[in-house]
Amino acid sequence: MTSSPSTKQRRRGELGPVAKVSTHLTLTVASLIALFPIVWLVYLSLGPDKDDYLHPGGIFAKATLDNYSFVLTNTAFFNWLWSTLVVAGGTTLFGVMSAATTGYAVSRMRFPGHRPLMWVLLLTQAFPIAVLIVPMYEIFSQLRLVDSHLGLILVNCTTIVPYCSWLLKGYFDTIPIELDEAGMIDGLTPFGTFWRLILPLARPGLAVAAFYAFITAFAEVAFASTFLLDDSKYTFAVGLQSFVSEHDAQWNLMAATAVLIAIPVTVFFYLVQRHVVTGLTAGGVKG
């Protein structure tokens, strides 16, 4: 987990003035491109009418927060928030818990079936949704799991669990095996070693895995759009779509809802992004 000390003793020469200006110029343009769609969305969310996006110039004069109050009071926004937290939280909890033991086992133990298991995990986390969605629908119909959060959590786990297993395996690999050895000498069983010694040390890895699981489940579109039917059970990804029906697209309300969703997620992302990126590159750079 090396976040490099970087900048301080960069020894290559200072940039020349031309290079400096062009670097700043490029980065500024790139930043503007990155920023603009979001700013535009915020701006459109201030226009009170659903056709304002066709005449954006007019919004400036009549900017209002009406869309926000409408969304918060007249739609199922808080139901969506709750559903999203349930689905994302449930996926995270279930996914990370079951992945942790597997990650540990494949990191430390060589058992028959070890390699095929790794391969299956790797392949499964790359499954496109189209592979499973049809049979899943059929099975869920019989189990009456369509239109339920539990069903969605299970579906999300099909990619989250193998993915987190790999991620955590990578993390456990960085914890010295001497620790396990010490645990064994103290008379701990492998479970005990895992639970008492390794898991506490692996907290940063678990946090990264949890973060990924949460974000992935949060932003899942395909299964949620297909399997969630009652508007009080929608996750945000589905709820947001309900504003843009072909014959009655309420882009103003959509924009306001989008901003309301994006703000907390973005803040959260910025708070944890350093850890995430370090965790992520650690996986890639070592080895």
């Binding site: 090396t2 769609p37 979001i38 790797l122 059929e138 099909t158 990126v277 996986g283």
Partner: protein, 332 residues
């Protein structure tokens, strides 16, 4: 959108390299596989139930003519049994060389490849460029970095809608293009422009991840290597070619693999940008979804058959990729 996956090179456990005798003893005790199996059991069971069984079921469906009219359905207390019949490999034959094979499968197949390659190349090139700019002593570095990862921080399903509005016929992008006197393409209607729009949005969404990963990679390259190269009189290009790129090779192979898989599987962007329109801009994943859930009646058998074909493509790709990686590792 998942964020990362394992380093493919992690197969060689460091423990084996420097295994001293006591560690060996630990290992021996672990030989009692019982523990290992108990620990992987939850995942194996979960995957068996949630992936294995549906996969078999899905494969069986591809051998039938199942659709939403003849599938089993439970209507309250009434259950209507399935009436679809076994048709063997007919579905695959129809997809791959039936009369509509080009329109329905091959055109989407080619477009999926073009889409994947173009997007990943753009992600990587722009990401690397920005990472190298950020990897300098520069005023405002942190601010740039924070701004540039914004497209990654905001959920995709939100930003796609922002693009959907901006790309509309009278949207802000065409207004801008119009004011500077350029053509105003119909981004959401003309097949070629639909594809361009999809690539554009996906590039916008995907660059920050590449940039950050590659920035991490750049920062881990030993400064002395550059110094040595400079002393040897290497030009900027030579330093890039012979120090930077090799230094990034392991992180690159990981992020390119991830990029390919994510782009190939990218559902949300195309689905949300075009809704039920734009048949030509659908990649295989969204096309398979549309066959199964976006039309009436729903063609479950065809959709599942596309799923199986997708899986086959993915398996072939990952196998080749690993073989290629292994060979390169041996060469290096």
């Amino acid at each position: 959108m998942t964020l990362t996956a394992p380093a493919p090179a992690a197969e060689t456990p460091r423990s084996r390299r420097r295994a001293p005798r006591p560690v060996q003893r630990v290992r021996d005790s672990y030989r009692r596989y019982w523990y290992a199996y108990a620990m992987v059991a939850p995942v194996v069971i979960v995957l068996g139930v949630l992936v294995g069984y549906p996969l078999l079921r899905g494969f069986y469906l591809t051998l039938t003519d199942a659709n939403s009219l003849n599938s089993a359905r439970t209507i309250g207390v009434n259950t209507i049994d399935a009436t679809y019949k076994f048709v063997g490999l007919d579905n695959y034959a129809e997809i791959l060389w039936g009369p509509a094979a080009y329109d329905r499968f091959w055109s989407h197949f080619v477009w999926t490849i073009v889409w994947t390659v173009t997007c990943v190349v753009l992600h990587y090139a722009i990401g690397l460029g920005l990472a190298m700019l950020l990897n300098q002593r520069l005023r405002g570095r942190v601010a740039y970095r924070l701004l540039l990862i914004l497209p990654w921080a905001v959920p995709t399903f939100v930003t796609v809608f922002a693009w959907r509005i901006m790309l509309a016929d009278a949207g802000v992008i065409n207004t801008m293009l119009g004011t500077i006197g350029l053509a105003e393409p119909s981004w959401l209607e003309d097949p070629t422009w639909q594809r361009t729009a999809a690539i554009m949005v996906n590039t916008w969404c995907g660059v920050p991840f590449m940039m950050l990963s590659l920035l991490g990679g750049l920062q881990s390259i030993d400064e002395n290597l550059y110094e040595a190269a400079e002393i040897d009189g290497a030009s900027a290009w030579q330093r890039f070619r012979h120090v930077t790129l090799p230094g990034l090779s392991s992180v690159s192979s990981t992020v390119v693999l991830l990029g390919v898989i994510w782009t190939f599987n990218q559902f949300a962007i195309i689905f949300l940008l075009f809704g039920n329109t734009a048949p030509d801009a659908q990649i295989l994943v969204t096309w398979a979804y549309r066959l199964g859930f976006g039309q009436q009646p729903r063609d479950f058998a065809m959709s599942a058959a596309y799923g199986v074909l997708l899986l086959a493509i993915l398996i072939v790709f990952t196998s080749f990729y690993y073989r290629w990686l292994k060979r390169n590792d041996q060469l290096a």
